[in-house]
Subunit: 209 residues, 4 copies
DNA sequence: GATGAATGAGTGTTCATTCAT
DNA sequence: CATGAATGAACACTCATTCAT
């Protein structure tokens, strides 16, 4: 077994990937140079090619990392109270991931618009699964009468869109919603909004915790 | 008056800008070459420089176009029924703009993540005003007791995030939500979601049209 | 006779040539643009081509102007006193020409080093004639015993080199030797130097005017 | 110690600089292309940029080479006979330098007329020091009564102008005065001319060797 | 004749990638 | 394995020249 050897190799790969994500997130894929990435990783440019086939591979590997991170499950919700818990879980999980792996998300987000391969991968393997989890939950909720009869496809996208926007503005603007304890307030407000909407109705139960 | 001459010049500028937006939206700012843009506009590369100082100017001018498009006003809402109308107006207006000027939005969106100048301009002059309009509406609604006591900053961002996501996936995926009549259904569903949330409550009035 | 017409045409040619010399002298032939020259001449770029075949032609025409200016004669010197007058005449004539047509000289001087055609023309038709006049004078002077037995080719070049250097530094540096009354002092000193050299000898007659 | 490595690097730099001087001397700075220079140096265009920041740097480095070459001293002259030796030394030294590094001189000479930076550097660091040495010598000579009372500023410029002209025509024309043994004759004649001038005087001691 | 908008060939420079050490 | 010097294709931009008006 070259276990020891393999671990070293994997460690080095990770170092490079982190450096790449950092640089690409900041400057964009096109503007990031292999030299810069190598410098940030503390190695020579040529060495990158011993671990990745080319620059594009670096980008796709960053996306792959995100894919690997994505949770396959979210706590099921069976009772009405769990609808709230589900929404909170999704928000907390996703916003938490973004906060932790921000350079990776940013690197991919910035590039996906104009890179077919990347978009397919990212949307298909990162976004779509989340949408699927949410949609699936909504379906069951609607069937069980716990959720109003809304189009799950549309509502799931609205929720992901919200997460997406907060993820993005948190870094690019001064409004850092993802730094705790702000993130907890954010989750609370969004949950409330998603559950009960804008409208004041006489008997809506507001945030029953 | 060289009105005729000026119009010709403006027309040409527009042609170039449209071609540039098209190409940049598809390939990204960095990958788009001046030659390609010139070809798409049906002119020689050098001609672009008679109308724009450089490639960057082309990009900023695309952003400027978007800025110019942004509406300064949205119908005020005074009565409960108008809360619905306001949400619908915002959605219809924004989704409509995106649908019509999609290449412009896409070109800027793709580049803004890694371009400080552009981001400042775009966020500050296109996104922030919309957020402001929504926030202001929510404030008044809350004061008037028409809207539940939610954080306007957060809710406005959730709504814009939703719009943003539909705008983006509409072109890049097979799911074209913005082509009528689907867009009308989308607006209806989102309005409903935003107004009343997910939760089924015994006496929530659902979509009273 | 299109005399009137021809004069107009010639006048316009001259205007363009002066503008060209001005710009080219300042920025160099390569850096000078046809647009700049046209602007300086108060016409449109295209118009230049009605008077000159191309940019190179402009340069060669400037050289041609200098050729036309060159005097064919310099006062003969027969008596000893006239040796001084000859040297003074050459200096005054050449330095005067340079002072008056400086842009033309500068434009050509800057470009001749790297332009075969120009160099051939300029050296052959402007410099060589002057050298010839001086050489011829020296020959006769030597034969007549008025001038020491020096190599006329070499001495004539030394004199022209001196003129050349003063012509050039007069504009480029702060040392403007060509502005009167300094030029008169310059001529006087140079004449003295050329006639009697550096060396203090007991009975050398110094500047007997 | 990367001494060996450093030497290789320096050698490569020199090769590029020589190629650049060659090409620029022949075609002029503007007309010389980086591709041509690279070809002449036997490398790829991109490689030049590993040694020089840009084309301008190449030109300034050529000038810098000349600056480095300039002698700081010339033999002092104390006795009358040494006046002759001083003049000869200056001529021999300067003409020798030019002959050896002609491409460097030509490249700079051709460009300096229209390049402010270059002119300042070249005149200030190459020409002015020589003028200073000559002027200083003349001053002392005049004080000591060995040299006639001439304006040192003017005479030094006349001498440098002479050197300048021979340097230039030697390559550009068919008259190659700088190839030995002609250069020795040139030095002899010029020394004689500078020391005693044109005028035949009854008792001037001619070239006492 | 005069114009100046349009052209498109030409060039400096960057940077992903290779490969001799 | 790691290096980093060398490569050369690619691209933004300039400007002499043309020609429809």
């Amino acid at each position: 077994m070259t276990t020891w050897h393999d671990m070293l190799r994997e460690k080095r790969q990770e170092t490079i990937l982190e450096a790449a994500a950092q640089i690409i997130a900041r400057k964009g894929y096109q503007r990031a140079t292999m030299k810069e990435i190598a410098d940030a990783a503390g190695i020579a440019p040529g060495t990158i090619y011993l671990y990745f086939s080319d620059k594009e591979d670096l980008l796709l590997s960053i996306a792959e990392q995100l894919v690997a991170l994505m949770p396959q499950e979210v706590p099921r919700a069976a009772t009405p109270a769990e609808t709230r818990r589900f929404v909170q879980s999704v928000l907390r999980q996703q916003l938490g991931l973004v906060a932790e792996y921000r350079p990776f998300f940013e690197a991919i987000t910035a590039e996906m618009w104009t890179n077919e391969t990347l978009r397919t991968n990212y949307l298909g393997r990162v976004i779509t699964p989340i949408l699927g989890i949410i949609e699936s939950f909504l379906h069951k909720g609607i069937e069980a009468g716990r959720v109003r009869s809304l189009d799950p496809q549309i509502v799931s996208r609205a929720m992901v869109g919200t997460i997406f926007l907060f993820a993005m503005i948190s870094d690019t603007s001064a409004e850092d919603y993802l730094r705790s304890p702000r993130v907890e307030q954010l989750i609370e407000e969004l949950t409330d909004f998603f559950l009960y909407g804008l409208k004041q109705t006489p008997d809506t139960e507001v945030s029953p915790a």
